[in-house]
Symmetry: C2
Subunit: 696 residues, 2 copies
């Protein structure tokens, strides 16, 4: 391998340099990046991130330079090494859960302990008895047992009740027999199961005396604790390569009449009484409900930051990249236009920039609502002496139903916006967006399953519609609880016959009200189709999906509006920054309104003329006004370069130097010298790839 | 490695079996698959495909079973082996160009000779003189020289005039000096350049006596013909991994004052006179124009088939996959519902199925228009004795302008529908769509660059808008040529003040007319903004993009309509099949109309009530009516299983068996036994991956 010639090393990008362009871009706005970062995350969280980043950067195993080059096997083994080291660091620095998550976030790759650290421990904690905690949770928390959560099967995903794996109670020896009766009963997609876990929580159909009682969780040892070989009656392995997520060993598992003791059924909620051989029902199913709601809420909260990563990369690159002269530039003008100056690029990127903030604020609001409710329920549960009245119980259960529906709809909307938005960002980077070094592609591919797991994004919309229909029926009957949903329905019913006059271009609260109106209109339309016209549920699925999307968009717009009118915002941010955030709110809302125009018309929430003006006047003007602040706005998301691992998204603008360096100096394929002639059988003349790999 | 236990081998999917379901599904329609296949492709082409498939299947090198497992380096070397063998087969069987393309299509992976076989040979043929053909083309056709086409640079893609590489004429020794003055001048993304080519056509700024003459093509030897090492002054290599397309060695190239002789400038159109040292202008630039139009037309034609591959896989899997009972099923009903029965799934898949046909017919129409025009131009060029009149020349040039604009708009629309549609198909497969074995992900990733190359899909829309504005100005002035575009504009202007009454739900021709009306409305709106209100070009880019999309959608709808009314269709197909095609036409048109509702309202092409009815009545009803024929419709695209390489898309419905087999028997990662404990430094306890790889 010849060294890179000196004349190559001497080359620079043509002027102006990326560093100059990006500096000029930063200087063009006075927006306070630090204040905005603090407002988004709090200073404490940002400091924590800086501390952890330093620790990770110092460890060679976390170095990312091989990531884009390695094949699946090497990536998996590296991910395992990282997972081990991360666990060691967690112990060494006595990291809290939040600190551990922060480290994972910076490393930004799914790892082999992923499902152990989340679902396995969580399930044991939440669904195990104290005795089971001692037996299963303690060794798991010490990583003496490594586990996973085995629910999905080859033939069943969303439909949990359709799971085929059975757990049959044997009264004679007080055991359960776990069994896979068909090939489709094979557990499938189970994270950390493929090569790593030696334990699994297995969701299986409980059968007592021939009668099925639905899916329940069973702990099962699947691999030998010493040799790590599968135990007798267990066929387990990795399910193969995927579109992304290849550092994780998603696995399959078949069980052939595997016996486990009575204690292995997680028994906090329901259990089998070993004396009577009878099933004992769960005491409080709503608490289980809670976990799913929490998982979905985190997806909503994450979606803003997930998308912000792509928007950061695309915005920085669009500040450095120049292409064509402005067509209307006076003749004699030289120099090309920054790509970020093109209105078509602004129209693709800036509404997504607005969405990052909208989703982040919405996620935060959801999390506090969730935590508030958890507290209330915990105090109601413990404070039994106080005597909780039926109204209080009802209010709690109404809130849970609302939270559940809200989390379903927002999970679907948030992850769809983030996933599809990342691909828009990638394409907005032109050809280089397609290079792995761009940094968006792999991130997008790893994120995509979020649209399918924890409830497929289309499936979930049925839950939202069911809740809205139920609320609407209650409003019509006059026995509805008082909450935001029933309030907007009541407003709609009152004004329905006089029409509405939403000044969407002039008033923020009218803009929010127009979204509420559309949700209400679509709800009562759907209700009519279902209850009066008696249409089949299946024939209404498209209406339900639209309804859920409309409702979730309303919630996002409303949450953004509420933050703008919050005291903390007024206190923490200066007027200039608040003004830009206000513009982002209007951009998000008006752009959504324009893209969903047809429902806003047909519900008569706005007029045709207003929609036309929304785009041609308001949105285009907002793009122009936000554009000078775009770079500082993405800076406020505070992604370290180490985390982004992107040539295009470099904070210093050295885009072309970085792309070239990675291709020319790091790319192992350049160690292969081939024989190009079709009649020669030789393929590789010389293989020096090892020299490149050694540099990585 | 333990053999798979017998109890695993004995397992079957739970009943009903995929084979039974897919057979029942096929039996539910009487549509003639063979007739429809013949109509789409001709019997000759289908027979050719069958013959070539047999040849390829017999060669071990084309076996696909490693494709989803191998890392980049192995995939590239395998692709090289395949490219060599394919070339040998081409010689052995004396394949025509079409046969060679057919083989490539079946192999379905970009290969290292890709840009040699297309762009290098085409450019030499089209832009070389007879002397240059002898010198460069002949050895290239014999694969004694392997070439590529080096246009794009690190800093410039779409803006060809901005290329930085220079070719300076040296009058003293009658040579050119090729040089990369900056890092951003590095050629980048050049297919087949990274490791394979020893020659390149380099697009460089011609400079004579200090004066630039714009980009021109130069042939340059870049690697030693024996050692394959880069020649003096050449720095060349592969640009690194990408989101897809990793079997191709896209490359970079820097030149340090490399001298080439005068003969190396391709001189069919423009050249440097070595005696006078003067630049000689191109004689007929419109012929060069022609190549780009041809490339874009093939992208349009391909887009239907590209998408059909995803729709085939998703439709077949949705016929086998069952999930949940129908909510309105009478109690006591057992068994789950086929996913294809859900209206939400139909709403996502069937409009894409309709689009495959719409795009295919549109592409075919474009190709014949292109060929007709080429013939006309060739006869005009050779038949100089006949004396071509100015009208005839003008008509030819009008047609070229129309073809150019049409190919730009349809390339953008077709590749966007296909690319985004593939991702919709992938997601419609639920979790398994994310598995590589699903077969959509890799195909999607390899296809994605089509949205960026040969003109970025957003950039291209400016060309369309420019052409439509020019045509509209001509119509207003009364000096427009007679063609379809000017006709629809004239109709619009005549009826503009009396309004229109398109019976879109009752009449097919009115449906087409509504699309024409919307294009015309948007054109005259844009014209007003540009010519009267003097808005900047940049501020109108979003309007232009919408205009181009609208116009291209009109063309697709119109072409589908024309095919339905063609004689060949009536002659070749039976009434039942024609009826289904007619429904697909209406589905494509009405679904598009509904999704773009806002422009159809604001242009007053239809009423709000019509749009509402389009979805709630017509589209939903069409989905129901087309659904029984969906499987046979995708069968008519005639993809061999060997080509699809998809567990989910298997023609026989053995989805779960195939997924399981690939994961359990073929997946090399299952040869790694790891140590799972964080405090043990050992990562891999035993590596038996070689045994898996040997099976592949």
């Amino acid at each position: 391998m010849k060294p890179t010639p000196q004349w190559v090393k001497d080359l620079k990008p043509s002027a102006p340099q990326g560093t100059e362009l990006i500096k000029a871009e930063r200087d063009s706005s006075k927006l306070s990046v630090d204040k905005l970062s603090n407002f988004l995350f709090t200073k404490e969280v940002l400091d924590r991130q800086a501390t952890i980043l330093k620790i990770l950067e110092a460890e060679k195993v976390f170095d990312k330079s091989r990531n884009y080059f390695d094949g699946r096997q090497d990536r998996f083994v590296t991910a395992l090494a990282r997972a081990k080291r991360l666990r060691q660091l967690q112990v060494k620095h006595n990291w809290t859960q939040d600190e551990f998550y922060c480290a994972n976030d910076l490393i930004s790759e799914p790892g082999p302990y992923g499902l152990h650290a989340t679902m396995y421990l969580t399930t044991l904690r939440g669904q195990g008895t104290p005795e089971q905690h001692k037996l299963f949770l303690e060794p798991a928390e010490n990583y003496e047992a490594i586990g996973c959560y085995a629910q999905t099967e080859l033939g069943h995903g969303s439909n949990v009740r359709g799971l085929e794996t059975t757990a049959t109670w044997n009264p004679e020896d007080k055991t359960f027999t776990l069994h896979s009766p068909h090939l489709t009963a094979s557990k499938w997609w189970i994270g950390s199961l493929g090569r790593t876990a030696n334990h699994a929580v297995i969701m299986a159909q409980l059968i007592i005396a021939g009668k099925p009682y639905g899916p329940h969780p069973f702990v099962c040892n699947i691999r030998d604790m010493k040799t790590h070989e599968p135990l007798e009656g267990i066929h387990v392995g990795d399910i193969g390569p995927k579109f992304g997520y290849n550092t994780m060993d998603n696995g399959f598992l078949l069980l052939n009449q595997v016996k486990i003791p009575h204690i292995n059924m997680l028994a906090k909620y329901s259990r089998v009484d070993p004396e009577t051989n009878k099933y004992v029902k769960p005491s409080s199913p709503s608490l289980i409900y809670g976990t799913l709601t929490w998982v979905r809420s985190t997806i909503v909260l994450d979606s803003g930051k997930v998308l912000a990563r792509g928007v950061t990369i695309a915005t920085r690159y669009a500040s450095v990249r120049r292409q064509f002269q402005d067509r209307d530039a006076p003749s004699g003008t030289s120099g090309e236009n920054q790509v970020l100056n093109y209105s078509m690029v602004q129209y693709r990127l800036l509404p997504l920039l607005a969405a990052t903030f909208a989703l982040h604020f919405t996620g935060k609001a959801m999390m506090s609502l969730y935590q508030e409710n958890q507290k209330r329920m915990a105090s109601a549960a413990t404070d039994t002496t106080r005597g909780v009245g039926p109204e209080e119980l009802q209010a709690g259960s109404d809130l849970i139903a609302d939270l559940h529906a809200t989390s379903c709809g927002l999970k679907a909307l948030g992850s769809t916006i983030a996933g599809e938005g990342l691909e828009v960002c990638r394409r907005a980077c032109g050809g280089h967006g397609y290079s792995s070094f761009g940094g968006i592609g792999a991130w997008y591919a790893d994120y995509l399953p979020t649209m399918t797991w924890e409830g497929d994004n289309y499936m979930l919309t049925q839950q939202v519609a069911r809740y809205l229909l139920k609320s609407a029926r209650a409003v019509l009957k006059g026995n509805a609880p008082t909450n935001d949903t029933t309030k907007i329905f009541s407003t709609f019913l009152q004004k329905q016959d006089m029409g509405c006059a939403h000044d969407v271009l002039g008033s923020d609260s009218d803009l929010v009200a127009a979204f509420a109106w559309r949700t209400s209109y679509l709800t009562f339309e759907a209700l009519k189709h279902r209850d009066l016209e008696k249409n089949s549920w299946n024939s209404l699925l498209v209406d339900f999906w639209r309804l859920s999307t409309a409702h979730s968009q309303y919630l996002v717009v409303k949450n953004f509006y509420d933050v703008l009118h919050s005291e903390s915002l007024q206190y923490e941010l200066d007027p200039a920054t608040i003004d830009v955030l206000h513009k982002l709110f209007r951009l998000y809302a008006l752009d959504t309104l324009e893209k969903e125009a047809s429902e806003f018309y047909s519900s008569a929430a706005v007029t045709v003329r207003q929609i036309q003006l929304a785009r041609t006047k308001s949105v285009m003007k907002l793009l122009e006004e936000i554009r000078p602040h775009a770079l500082r706005l993405v800076d406020s998301w505070n992604f370290p370069d180490w985390q982004l691992d992107s040539s295009l998204g470099r904070k210093d603008g050295k885009v072309y130097e970085d792309l070239f360096y990675r291709a020319s100096e790091l790319n192992p394929l350049n160690g292969l010298t081939i024989d190009p002639y079709p009649n020669n059988d030789t393929l590789v003349k010389r293989d020096e790839t090892a020299q490149f790999k050694a540099k990585l």
